[in-house]
């Protein structure tokens, strides 16, 4: 299969993630959208790596990204929990304590 197919899929996934990130107010959904975008990037990296199997750069980057994602989700969920405790909500537009 040519790389193009993967890239089209990846860009579709990234767009869905990006739009979801921009329009959804639920922090959990926002986090999931971020995951979607990161996975789209991972997909691209793996696709390029499959097209050029002699170098392992894409795979390496994909592993790093997965590690970073895991960490990010851990922190992100913790923030969401804290937010919920303080404001009794997980809607991001209501979390505007720092405004003014």
């Amino acid at each position: 299969m040519p790389v193009t197919h993967y890239l089209v899929l990846s860009s579709l996934l990234f767009t869905i993630g990006g739009v979801g990130f921009l329009v959804r107010r639920n922090v959990l959904v926002t986090l999931m959208s971020i995951e979607l975008m990161l996975n789209a990037v991972n997909l691209t990296l793996i696709a390029f790596n499959a097209a050029h199997p002699e170098s392992h750069t894409g795979q390496m980057f994909a592993f790093f990204l997965i590690a970073a994602e895991a960490a990010e989700v851990a922190v992100g969920l913790a923030i969401v929990l804290a937010l919920f405790r303080i404001r009794r909500t997980v809607r991001s537009d209501e979390a505007d304590l720092l405004k003014n």
């Binding site: 990130f21 921009l22 329009v23 926002t30 991001s92 537009d93 505007d96 720092l98 405004k99």
Partner: protein, 859 residues
């Protein structure tokens, strides 16, 4: 003596460090830890500091005497260099100017040192008792020690900058001590006044220092003395100062008739002398800067004694004596000193005649006596002037401490500072305070010029010298030979000053005896004396005061002004209610009085000029003043015979003053004084209000300065604050308001902004950027280089024909073209990037036509 001499060689006389260091140590310890040490320790520290300093001074004095007798007595000096301070090249003399932290003792400041530490010690001893109940006890003694330290720096310094350090130090300490009770506004204001009046004088001293280093190339005493002659002697234009026209311009307006048509030329000696005189007038309270000294009595009485008698105010006389060889170079300066002294003496005496406050009388008497000292040095009789410093230190310290003792006694009942110092509330204290009375009497006799007491000898010598001495320019003959006109002292000035001096002496006797009679004779007018006897004074006062207050309350029903008070102080008391008799002061206060009175009586023996040929002080100081006197002072040949006849008016002045005071204040119980005051009310009021000099300063100088300050403040308020500060803050605030609208705090808005930002940045990278730089060289070769970029490839059109050189894009980043002179060419570059997008740039190249070869060749 041998041991001491080997311990302290004359060029490294480290005993000076002890003399200086002890008061500093005392000030340091009391200042830092005084509050925790407690009163006995503070007392111990402060007395030890000054006492050890005095003992060290005595030893130093003896060593100086010994060293002087061994070899050449004339210029013996003991030196101590603490450390090198600075040195600089320059001055008109072209030498290296060394300014070290260097101290020296010679005949002149050896005596000063003894006065400062000796009289200072007695005043300290007195103050330990006088200030007993003051909450600022440790602070007071820290300041007092610091004062002694500064004064010692001033007199022991071997050069002008070191002297100036002490000069400023005593200025600071006087400010701190005069304003010691800073909670009261007048005291704080008096401190400020002393400080500011002294600053004006300090300006003169600084100017004198600059002039001296410029002309003589030295600032230490020996250096100045060695080079002083150039100040007057050198006819070169550089050694003369032209005072007009200012800046070379001529004013052409309406007031031009006020302007001299030719420049006034003065010698450098006159300029230096006048600048020094301004400095001395500030410290020693002469016209026009005397106004601070009478106010300086706002401080505690021991401070007044210290400032007025032993230390600060004598600094000016000391400096004139120290730099006598500079002063005598200009007869004009000497005459000015003489006249300023005479005028100050007379003016202050007239004010002292009518004051009611005991300390004010003494304060104006100090100003007047300082005027006498200036008359002495201005007449070229430096020994006489300095002798008066010495005797004045004793009797004035005794008088002030005596006044303090009286105030102390009055304060037991009258708790108001102003009222307790008012002589109208005193009288008859002779009976209750015998020690204070007798010592006060001796000192009054001394200051009034009673024959055979110290003040008589010193004052008489000054007046005699003013009559017979005549200042002459040491370079008059030379200048006349060169046809240079030079100012000479008129003959009559000395006689006029003598007459003024005699009148002032009579006034001195009158107002001092007026003070004595009002305070100690007659009947007591302070309060009715009845109860309280049998109690010890200190406690008796408290108890009696409390009881009296209770009575006063009964009598008047209530009194709103009374605050809650544990000590029974600060009460407006009804003085008709009988109270305990005034009491004599405790021993630590009376002992200094007795010692000072003894000195005031017998110090005249140091220089009894009119009576004997034995003049220990004159002999001792002779080497210091010898050269100056030889150079600049002419003594009338008949002087010897005039000495006794000229003494007669002095004695008569004393008798007249005493007799008049007796007649007015004892015989007639002060009634004639009242009649006179009523006969000439305006004159009396003017004298009582110090001839309105303060008001005059207020109206002229101070209001001008105030106006300037107000203008500056308005400028600061409106321009600096209003425009610069407010405007810029407004701009920042407006910018902040705009930016704040973007800070919604909503995550999605931030995310959207980020997306837009990323899109813009991406677009920047997606679009190629064609940029070139051109490097010309003189032979007509131009190298055109394209800026690099990611994934860029280039297509050049270097020959300017509009068609690319090569059809395809390549990696070629630069082209080289050659241009003939006067030709021009357009190089075109196309850039494409990995996305296949294009960008184009055109560079016009243009070589100027060559210069004419003939012209080039001709160079």
């Amino acid at each position: 003596m041998k041991l001491l001499e080997s311990l302290f060689p004359s060029n490294d006389f480290s005993l000076i460090a002890v003399i200086l260091g002890m008061p500093l140590l005392g000030a340091f310890v009391n200042g830092i830890w005084g509050r925790r040490l407690g009163k006995p320790a503070v007392k111990m520290m402060t007395l030890t500091a000054v006492g050890v300093s005095f003992i060290a001074s005595l030893i130093a004095f003896l060593l100086l005497d010994h060293a002087g007798h061994g070899g050449e007595h004339a210029h013996t000096r003991l030196y101590f260099t603490a450390w090198e301070w600075m040195h600089t090249n320059g001055g008109r003399a072209g030498s290296t100017v060394n300014i070290d932290l260097r101290f020296s003792i010679d005949a002149l400041n050896g005596v000063m040192m003894l006065i400062v530490t000796g009289v200072g010690f007695l005043i300290h001893l007195y103050a330990t008792s006088y200030m007993e109940n003051d909450p600022g006890y440790h602070r007071f003694f820290a300041y007092l020690n610091l004062f002694i330290f500064s004064m010692l720096i001033l007199i022991l310094g071997d050069n002008l900058p070191v002297l100036f350090v002490g000069w400023e130090g005593v200025g600071l300490c006087s400010y701190l001590l005069i304003g010691f009770w800073y909670e009261q506004m007048p005291n704080a204001a008096a401190g400020k006044k002393a400080f500011i009046a002294n600053r004006i004088g300090d300006f003169g001293l600084i100017c004198a220092m600059f002039l001296l280093v410029h002309y003589t190339g030295a600032l230490d005493w020996t250096g100045i003395q060695n080079n002083a002659s150039v100040l007057a002697d050198n006819p070169a234009d550089a050694y003369q100062i032209h005072l007009w026209p200012l800046g070379g311009g001529q004013y052409q307006g309406f007031f031009k008739f006020l302007q001299p048509t030719t420049p006034i030329t003065i010698s450098a000696a006159t300029a230096v002398g006048l600048a020094l005189l301004l400095g001395c007038a500030g410290k020693s309270a002469q016209i026009p800067l005397y106004v601070w000294l009478p106010d300086a009595m706002a401080g505690p009485t021991p401070v007044s004694a210290l400032i007025h008698a032993a230390t600060m105010v004598t600094a000016g006389i000391y400096l004139v004596c120290r730099l006598s060889f500079v002063f005598v170079l200009s007869p004009f300066v000497m005459t000015t000193v003489l006249c300023v002294g005479a005028a100050t003496a007379l003016l202050a005496a007239t004010i002292a005649l009518v004051q009611n406050d005991i300390k004010k009388v003494l304060a104006y008497s100090t100003v007047s006596q300082l005027g006498f000292m200036f008359m002495g040095v201005g007449a070229g009789a430096f020994t006489a002037g300095f002798f008066h410093v010495l005797t004045h230190a004793f009797f004035k310290a005794c008088l002030f401490l005596g006044a303090g003792s009286v105030i102390h006694a009055m304060h037991a009942r009258i708790h108001d500072d102003v009222k307790s110092q008012d002589m109208r509330h005193m009288g008859g204290l002779k009976k209750y305070m015998p020690y204070t009375y007798w010592t006060f009497l001796v000192s009054t006799l001394a200051i009034a010029g009673c024959p055979l007491l110290s003040g008589f000898f010193s004052k008489d010598e000054i007046l005699f010298r003013a009559y017979v001495n005549h200042s002459i320019s040491p370079v008059a003959a030379k200048m006349t030979a060169r046809h240079i006109a030079i100012w000479q002292q008129p003959e009559w000035i000395g006689k006029a000053v003598y007459a003024v001096g005699i009148i002032t002496a009579a006034m001195t006797a009158f107002y001092m005896f007026r003070c004595l009679f009002l305070t100690f004779h007659g009947s007591f007018r302070g309060w009715a004396i009845g109860r309280g006897s049998g109690l010890t004074p200190a406690h008796g006062v408290k108890v009696a005061a409390k009881e009296d207050v209770a009575h006063a309350h009964d009598d008047h029903g209530h009194d709103d002004e009374h605050h809650d008070d544990d000590h029974g102080h600060h009460h407006e008391e009804d003085l008709t209610v009988p109270g305990p008799a005034p009491h004599e002061s405790p021993l630590p206060m009376t002992a200094p009085l007795v010692i000072l009175a003894a000195f005031a009586a017998f110090a005249g023996a140091l220089n009894p000029a009119p009576l004997t040929k034995m003049l220990p002080l004159e002999h001792w100081l002779e080497p210091v003043f010898e050269e100056a006197q030889k150079a600049g002072v002419h003594v009338a040949e008949t002087a010897e015979h005039l000495e006794l006849p000229l003494m007669v008016p002095g004695v008569l002045a004393f008798i007249i003053g005493l007799g008049l005071a007796y007649a007015v204040y004892i015989k007639a119980e002060g009634k004639p004084a009242k009649r006179w005051a009523e006969a000439a009310p305006r004159l009396h009021r003017a004298a009582y209000n110090k001839w309105y000099v303060d008001e005059f300063y207020e109206a002229t100088i101070l209001s001008a300065v105030d106006a300037l300050a107000e203008t500056a403040a308005a400028f600061d308020q409106w321009f600096v604050d209003g425009i610069i500060a407010k405007l810029s803050s407004l701009v920042v605030a407006a910018l902040g308001t705009v930016l704040r609208t973007f800070q919604t705090g909503v995550v999605h808005v931030y995310a959207a902004a980020m997306v837009i930002g990323i899109a813009v940045i991406s677009w920047f990278f997606v679009a190629p950027h064609a940029q070139v730089s051109t490097a010309p060289s003189p032979n007509g070769d131009y190298v055109v280089t394209a800026a690099p970029g990611m994934g860029y490839s280039y297509r050049w059109d270097a020959d300017g024909n509009g068609e690319p050189d090569k059809p395809d894009f390549t990696d070629q980043t630069s082209v080289k073209v050659h241009l003939d002179p006067g030709k021009e060419l357009k190089v075109k570059l196309e850039v494409t990037n990995a996305f296949g997008r294009h960008a184009t740039v055109e560079v016009p190249l243009n070589r100027p036509a060559a210069q004419n070869p003939m012209e080039l060749g001709s160079n």
